[in-house]
Amino acid sequence: MKAAGIDPDEDLVRRIGAGDHGAIRSFVALKLPRMLALARRMLSDPIEAEDVAQEVFVRAWRQAPNWKPGAGKFDTWMHRVALNLCYDRLRRRREDLTDDPPDMPDLSPNAEQLLQSRDTASQVEVALGALPPRQREAIVLCHYQELSNIEAAELMGVSVEAVESLLARARRALRSALADLARN
């Protein structure tokens, strides 16, 4: 887990704010995979994940010139933007399902889908997609994005104890869903 406090991106963000071409390229190389991975795991949809990642950067370009050093980590701010965008889309999905249930496909993966998945990667993706959103968010932030429990708690607006509870439940559910795979 990354140490809280000093922002490792501070200099890069300052240079982006000044329109430094090299800094912009470095920043995209560094952060785009990270934002795409976050959105992909939260949404389980490659197209929507790309849209979210792109939008995060549009907002980052606007934010960089006004960013005050010491106001927190820019990476954490980007995570917050990405998570909000993901939740907007997840909420829209639920509303669509509620508005027009007969014509909408069931987006939540089930055991059958899990068994039909071709390989470990897709089975894990299906199992992650089947988690309740808050559990998925906790495991994505702490395990995959490697944020500290404190950073995850701040982003999720809950206590560290709540993050730990969500993480433990998420891992229990994933262990159960992937048990067959582990045995093989």
């Binding site: 071409h21 995209v28 785009l32 490697e146 433990a168 891992r171 992937l178 582990a182």
Partner: protein, 155 residues
């Protein structure tokens, strides 16, 4: 665990060790910073017990890590770069100001055209003058021959 918990701790219980493993996984390096050292100390105290707890969680970690992150396509990267602000390392502030003002841009274009026309005309005149001078320096062949003949005669 509160954010401060662990800072004052010198040791953790096996129950906490197990709880941390089922929460953060089988790699102590991914546990909360404050609890890593006490956890390592406990591991040294009873390596077999610690290994049993950690191995079960490491198995799940390996499965989770078996799902690689999505690859960034060239198209997405280009879209993101295209959304970035104007790049200042290619042009200085004056150039950007000039090129961003339509009237000044038009004036610059007109000046460039005038300069080009002037250059073309001057070049044409210069070439013409040089051409004529060159022609005047070339004596007709018979004149040269006659000059050589006259020299021979002189000798």
């Amino acid at each position: 665990m509160s954010p401060l918990r662990g800072h004052d701790m010198t040791e953790i219980s096996w129950a906490r060790f197990e709880s941390l493993a089922t929460t953060y996984g089988g790699d102590i390096g991914r546990w909360p910073v404050a609890e890593r050292e006490p956890a390592k100390a406990l591991t040294l105290a009873d390596p077999i017990r610690a290994r049993e707890i950690l191995a079960a969680e490491a198995e799940l970690d390996a499965l989770l890590d078996g799902a690689p992150a999505a690859m960034v396509s060239d198209a997405l990267r280009e879209r993101v770069l295209a959304s970035a602000p104007r790049l200042r390392d290619r042009t200085n502030g004056w150039t950007r100001w000039l090129t961003s003002t339509p009237i000044l841009t038009g004036a610059a274009a007109a000046a460039a055209c005038a300069g080009l026309m002037f250059g073309v005309l001057m070049t044409r005149d210069a070439v013409s003058a040089a051409h004529q001078e060159a022609l005047s320096n070339i004596a007709p062949a018979e004149t040269i021959l006659s000059a050589e003949t006259s020299e021979e005669r002189t000798i």
